[in-house]
Amino acid sequence: MTTPLLSVEHLVKRYGDQTVVNDLSFHIEPGECLGVIGPNGAGKTTTIRMCLGLSEPDGGSVGYFDGLAMPRDALAIKAQLGVVAQMDTLDPDFTAAENLLVFGRYFGLPDRVIRDRIPQLLEFAALTHKGSAKPGQLSGGMKRRLSLARALINQPRLLLLDEPTTGLDPQARHLMWERLQLLLQERKSILLTTHFMDEAERLCDRLLVLDHGRKIAEGRPRDLIAQHLEPDVVEVYGQGATALAHEATLQSLAERTEVSGETVFFYTRASQPLLTALQTWPQLRTLHRPSNLEDLFLKLTGRQIREEG
């Protein structure tokens, strides 16, 4: 068995009476992409902050690489880490290339080494022609890719990405995914927090579902879906759809029934009989699809809106 790059044991964080991270343990193997998903206020960002030594845990430990511990060995750990924070912290006064140069200096790298790496990093970020543009002249997606390139300047062993695609349009998000997949093909290791289930499903080898600071599920995306959900979902919506949730025939054909707003969700192992039965209500619209990570997420964490945490 290989030593994990990051190993979090029984982590606890309290703010006053509130426990925001509660006995959380997980680890990342070399070459692995671990996704951390959870509603707002689930403790994702607090966990990342503790992993970065920016916030002091009230219990538990964060270990890295070969026996390094946060916060004791913070500088030695950060020398081998690449971080993309939720908010861009690019320098608005510098060009893209200067941003990389200045950031590389924080790692104590000689200018010569950094200047050698800049062209490849700009190319990786699809910003070769934007090397002399300042962040203010870049789009949201370009800025995020520059942040990613900046996090790679020290050739890190592990990347920590906190919601790397939040706020991006679909094109920019797909380009970001492509870049992250390239990194994974190079056997880079990534810890990623995200709100997007398709992102988690596409990139992550393993997922950690957090809610109220606790780990409520962990595993491969497909395994988690198979373990917690029926394979098919039939959504029914339209005038009077919600009444169907109490229809005995339909209930018997579905393993589980859920109502959210004006839509009824039937989770089933055999969709055909259910679809046939639904033809009795031709005015209603139905959508038949395989169950996905989003269904899993909503099943585990509930459908109600969370206050911003």
């Binding site: 970065l52 845990p57 916060p71 950060k78 924070a85 320098d91 608005p92 950031f103 924080y106 790692f107």
Partner: protein, 268 residues
Amino acid sequence: MSQIHNNIWAPPRLSMRWWPVFRRNLLVWQKLAIPSLVGNIAEPLMWLVAFGYGLGALVGQVELGGEKVPYILFLASGSICMSAMNAATFEALYSAFSRMHVQKTWDGIMNAPVRLDDVVLAEMLWAAFKALFTVTAILGVMLGLGISHSPKLLVAWPVLLGVGITFSCMALIFNALAKGYDFFTYYFTLFLTPMMFLSGIFFPRDQLPPVVRAIADWLPLSAAVDLVRPLFMDRWPEDGLRHALVLLVFSVASFWIALALTRRRFRG
């Protein structure tokens, strides 16, 4: 758990990691040096011309330690300390706050192997450097105007760097406490402006009522003026050690407080 992070009052942990942070500020400044130079020296020179030549014509000479000196020399040697104070203060308040709070530059830096203590040190030294730069430009103009030709100005130069350090340390306390730029107005109105009038820049401190004078004598800006003014007059300061000690105590105490409050601000 590490006690170092828990106790915000722990001694500063400083290393050479401040240097790349200082260089970052230097690189930004290189792009704007010339326009910023104009801004930095234009205002002090206006004070000097308006008060020195205007008021100086009315006042004539000022009696200082038994010697009569032209008012323009009296004012120039005091106002250069004020310029060092202002340059360091503006940089350590507005510019440092932009980097710390608005642009989140510090957060980015701390994802690299650089400690908060070293970031604060870099900002402190940077603001002092800005003060030194401003003061150098003003000294050049004063030499050109023939206000003083004292060779001891060479000693005044590092002393003014020390003045910059003192005031940048003090300003960083208010930087650590600020929620927004408006907060800095308090620091100017409640501390710096009164100090400007009490420290013997525009008139000798013996004009002050005895009680006020007793306090004013221990202000850092008074110490700065008492160190720098004699050097302009080609004399060595009296009680130089005491004044230097005042600056040192203000610097060390302020830096420590500023660091503790900044650590508290960044502690999650």
